[in-house]
Symmetry: C2
Subunit: 527 residues, 2 copies
Amino acid sequence: MVDGHYDNIDISIKSEKEAELMGKENVALAKNMGVETGHYVAVVNKKDLKTLDVFIGDRVKITAGKKSIVCVVDATEWMVKEGEVGLSKEAADKLGIKKDHPIKVKVMPAPIPESVEAIVKKINGQSLTRKEIGSIIRDLMSNALTEAEISAFLVAVEINKLNMDETVALTNAMVNSGATLDLNQKYILDKHCIGGVAGNRTTMVLVPIIAAAGAYIPKTSSRAITSPAGTADTMEVLANVEFSMEELRKIVTKTHGAVVWGGGVNIAPADDKMIRIRRPLHLDPLGVMLASILGKKKAVGAKYLIIDIPMGRGAKVEDQNEANRLAKAFKETGTKLGMNTHVLITDGSEPIGNGIGPVLEARDVLSVLSGKGPIDLREKSLLLAGKLLETAGLAKEGKGYGVAKRILDSGKALKKMREIIEAQGGNPNIRIKDLQPGKFTADIKAEKKGRIEHIDNKNISRIARAAGAPSDKGAGIYLYRVRGDLVREGDKVLTIYAESEEKLSQALKVAKEFPPFLMEKLFIGEL
Amino acid sequence: MVDGHYDNIDISIKSEKEAELMGKENVALAKNMGVETGHYVAVVNKKDLKTLDVFIGDRVKITAGKKSIVCVVDATEWMVKEGEVGLSKEAADKLGIKKDHPIKVKVMPAPIPESVEAIVKKINGQSLTRKEIGSIIRDLMSNALTEAEISAFLVAVEINKLNMDETVALTNAMVNSGATLDLNQKYILDKHCIGGVAGNRTTMVLVPIIAAAGAYIPKTSSRAITSPAGTADTMEVLANVEFSMEELRKIVTKTHGAVVWGGGVNIAPADDKMIRIRRPLHLDPLGVMLASILGKKKAVGAKYLIIDIPMGRGAKVEDQNEANRLAKAFKETGTKLGMNTHVLITDGSEPIGNGIGPVLEARDVLSVLSGKGPIDLREKSLLLAGKLLETAGLAKEGKGYGVAKRILDSGKALKKMREIIEAQGGNPNIRIKDLQPGKFTADIKAEKKGRIEHIDNKNISRIARAAGAPSDKGAGIYLYRVRGDLVREGDKVLTIYAESEEKLSQALKVAKEFPPFLMEKLFIGEL
């Protein structure tokens, strides 16, 4: 146990040379503990800790042959014997140590990594150089930073901000942390939505329109973490979404378009490593957010970009000032990174499309591509696609919507989508009726006559999630009504779909606690 | 793997009620993994993670009978089987699960703790209420906060500061997190030094003087973390230092004074839990530092307090402005907490006393108490003791030094120290010659004639540490010279003591890289 005062004299080890000078080296038998911790952890016997002069939470350098990693130390009295060291799965994998095949390693105290000084600088309100930002991302990628240190960096950026040069440096460092795509084409277009709206599968309508227009659009998308579906989850109903960067290159070279899971192609993985810290604290510092989003566009070689910022009640961005600020930041940073960037602020106050959940959303998408489908999904997709074509100079100003509409109405977008589905290993002849949502259903009806005042993105998501989405592809919600609709008592407002009776009843319980929609109150008060 | 976008729609669980509603409950066999991680960790099989709908780094609530704890999740494919859960030692101990005695528990997704919202508030620059600060300390103590969250709080406080009300609330929350001492006496005095100076064992001279003057001084001190000795390490040469709060009460009631290890009596343990995060980042936010130090004084019931802020080259505080700012903060906060607080800014630019390392320092202390010893240690101790007596009204203004000097010179302080040593289980008749430093020694001599310009606290500490201090009690350094001394070529400046040949040679290597003293340069430059 470390006692309660900040240490009297701080002589923490700063460099590897110093570590070697001060440090005592142990030889130990390293074994794979098979536990995934998200970073490099070494479990060391307490007696060895004493010899090494390190404490729980300190770092040790572990060397096996020519490979070295830095691990954070956990302690044990018996789980690992003296002279042994137990490694987390990530650490063991890195050193190539397999289950039940321990190997001899060298263990020594490791210095605090260089980038920690850069983090301290940011805490102190100073600007960081490109090199310092690079060191943070490098140490992040090699698991040399603890979660406490990553968190410190994110909070410091949240409060002290990043300037433009720092943001550009962070973006480039993130791009360089992973794979990149070089299509060697002039017209590489891309699109991003900052999220917060249920349904909203515009990407799957926009991508085939852009590709059918002759441009390239190698779209990487996310899976849901806590929401009922990400674009990648919905696309997965129609085709595979997990590809390597090389496979993505082949698909896009052939069809001009793709919708794949971003986690599979390994773009900007540095960003992924921060997500776990950012989520519970709702930490989404502007500079990191810009670097994260724009880095993924730059990594696929995008030159023209449209950003969708949904705004409104219950969306991620709730007011106009914040939306404007964000729009300006995207535009400036995107441009600085060499991408022609156009930003649209859209209505994000209620879901887009009728279906929520992978299968139900995929049905909406195919329906819109067939010239039918939910009008809001169709119109928003055409608007975004049109503006993107204008941004790239592939349509004259004011004419993009018309170009996109013609491509959609001619059936070329649907044909392109079938090509993409085929290229991604799906069935190109799939029909809407092949996509069946869950068999267990329950309707939610209006309890009285009146007007629907609000449909809540978050509560809709909670209910769909409780019903089993996204892992149960057929689970979700179908909305019959939009905000402003007049309904009579007993009118169906939505149907919940689930793949089991149990999950359906779970979703109904959640719906009771988190109402999916609100009726207009006729009387607000009375005297 | 969590993919690279911040989640589309954030519906993270906020309350226990919501968790119950959304969550799926598993029954599992929980076993003690015997690994100390510093917090509560549950290793869950990947298949169970899917059922529970949680990711690595999320939280689960584990219930065994009437006891519940919240753990952070690590994942495994084989280390823990489906239907089992492996707990870190801390978590298993809390639930009473012994090695090889697994028990049935309930596992369910846990909400993000309440206090995380308070942390977010602080990140956003808002002030926290007493209740919110209390929730942070409570969740910290129950291990409900992750290291990332604790770090976020500390960085937010570092940048956005705590106001006086917040600092007082944090101090009180820290006091309430552990044991307190109620001596029921009027004159309870205490002393703290913010550190950074090698040697500097004034506490062990001051405590018997104050106790001999009739006041009470229940002094809790620290062990070294990275330095060659804390006061507790040095006192341990003469007596035991690990006592419970009840034992401390008995000792102080009997002898009026004590010098014990703060970690043993369990005062303000909340502070200890933050140390691990603060150390690598050098994070010592003023508000937390004040709460940490003053909380420990308040916990023992101190009413009169002297704070020593050493200032100067190589000390923790290097300039006058910072020292003044710190002094003002201590004075104001101490007063607000009901302690009459006096602050002294002292010369911290070189070591105090001749010995560095537990045995060598203990010899200095006994020597000063016997009326001899290093003059700087004697004078500084008398100055501090005198001012403390004045602060408590036990000596008239300007007369404290004289009162302290008479107590020291009369032999009463030495007699009192022997009583304290006996009460703490040591040998009251111990003589200086019983305290022998390490047998392996090496002298470091002046390489040329000249004046000593600087003796470096940090490098002295590095060398003493490399020689084996503090775990080898006899290891350390003896300084023959102070800054400003004229020396001839070949004059001994210091001796390194070690308990093994190997450590002596290690210390010599360190001394070569980190020079313990600098000679004045006669020529700075020449044209």
